[in-house]
């Protein structure tokens, strides 16, 4: 297998901000994203997906290291203070690097 290393960003945050978050991700250079509904518990209590105001989403983005840095810095500056949000980064191997 001929693999290329990319970054996988996983963002878990409030469903209410999906619109603005996706707009930002695209502007910062993400070529695509995957969203799943999520629920769980964290610093801001239990978040059930039963209805939008307390629902969570998990957004996954695969991108190159430079884009990942930009996204991380942007989220840190603009979202962390006021929104329930966590973010983690892992290395992944992709087969078609031109897609990411």
């Amino acid at each position: 297998m001929n693999g290329h290393t990319r970054k996988l960003l996983t963002i878990v945050t409030e469903a209410a901000i999906e619109g603005i978050l996706l707009e930002d991700l695209q502007r910062l250079g993400a070529h695509g994203y995957t969203i799943t509904d999520a629920r769980g518990r964290g610093a801001r209590g239990v978040r059930n997906s039963a209805w939008e105001a307390s629902g969570n989403i998990r957004v996954e983005v695969v991108c190159d290291a430079a884009t990942a840095e930009k996204i991380i810095a942007h989220l840190h500056a603009n979202y962390y203070a006021n929104y329930a949000m966590i973010l983690f980064v892992s290395d992944v191997v992709v087969l078609r690097p031109e897609k990411f």
């Binding site: 209410a16 603005i20 209805w51 006021n82 929104y83």
Partner: protein, 314 residues
């Protein structure tokens, strides 16, 4: 004797408070609320198709003004009496200036059960009342800030689920008339109360989940969550009479003024006023005002509307 749909609400509330594992799947809740919104819109549309639309303009303007006034009135109370931060006071005030479709549906069922007619344009006024409070709330919180992403907010407001479905239902009902809608009437009209019962079961569960944050944020929110709807109902009833609505229509407008949003406003505030704590406004609107209106408020507003018509009309 309590209406059985209210008992469903109490069942959900009890199950939630006792930490039962009962939960409506998110997709079911979504479907149920879509059905309610469409049914309300369609019902109004059928009636609208039977009459001229000319007298609607003053009513729409009056209701928009009411949304602004209620928000502007709630804000100083929260800011100076409740000592909330500016953003929180503005956000909570906007919740109370806007409207709850769930409460509207319960009031509609309440009046239908008593053979009280309401004006057909009420769903339109319901959709109209959702919006102005949000804009006023954002202005109160932020002034005219540059970075408020107004375009995105306006998109959310006018193309939000509630407005699209209510107005869409009205238009379909208006275009099709009663005969045209007969084939789909079983789903939207015959099942209305059953759907409402399921909706209220879930609302009971959601209300129960607010009790924790209500305990944290204290007695002032509880008092506000009861006093504000009562004051709003008086404004709504007076406006309803002044706009020439019947007792049923006046009751609906009083209920709309008394109710607090828990879907459209929280979503808009989350984006536009991120520093406002959503737990507080939801605890007040869902934890206090929704149950108060459903259990006690609606009969009070009905009596109030009848009284206003006797006092001012006689």
């Amino acid at each position: 004797m309590l209406d059985p749909i209210i008992l469903f609400f109490l069942l959900g509330l009890a199950a939630g408070l006792l930490r039962s594992e009962l939960r409506l799947p998110a997709a079911v809740y979504e479907l149920v609320s879509i059905l309610l919104l469409l049914a309300i819109g369609l019902k109004g549309g059928i009636e609208l198709s039977r009459q001229p639309l000319g007298q609607l303009v003053p009513q729409v303007l009056g209701v928009m003004a009411m949304g602004c006034v209620l928000t502007l009135a709630g804000f100083p109370v929260l800011r100076y009496l409740g000592r909330f931060k500016r953003a929180d006071a503005a956000s909570i005030a906007a919740h109370y200036g806007s409207v709850s479709v769930g409460t509207y549906a319960v009031a509609l069922a309440y009046l239908a059960g008593r053979q009280v007619a309401t004006e057909p344009q009420m769903p339109l006024l319901l959709a109209v009342l959702e919006i102005p409070a949000i804009l006023v709330g954002i202005l109160l919180a932020r002034g005219l800030a540059r970075d408020m992403r107004l375009g995105l907010v306006l998109h959310e407001l006018f193309l939000g689920k509630a407005v699209v479905l209510l107005v869409g239902g009205l238009l379909i009902g208006w275009a099709s008339g009663e005969g045209g809608l007969a084939p789909i009437a079983p789903l939207f009209f015959d099942l209305f109360k059953g759907i409402l019962a399921l909706f209220l079961l879930e609302m009971g569960l959601i209300t129960a989940s607010q009790v924790g944050s209500l305990r944290r944020h204290g007695i002032f929110l509880v008092a506000f969550g009861i006093a504000m709807p009562l004051a709003g109902a008086i404004v709504g009833a007076a406006l309803g009479f002044w706009l020439g609505l019947s007792v049923g229509g006046t009751t609906m407008l009083a209920t709309m003024a008394a109710s607090a949003s828990y879907i459209a406003v929280p979503a808009a505030m989350r984006i536009s006023v991120p520093e406002a704590n959503p737990a507080m406004s939801l605890a007040a609107s869902l934890g206090v005002t929704f149950p108060f209106n459903v259990l006690l408020g609606i009969p009070i507003y009905h009596a109030l509307a009848a009284r206003v018509h006797v006092l001012l009309g006689g």
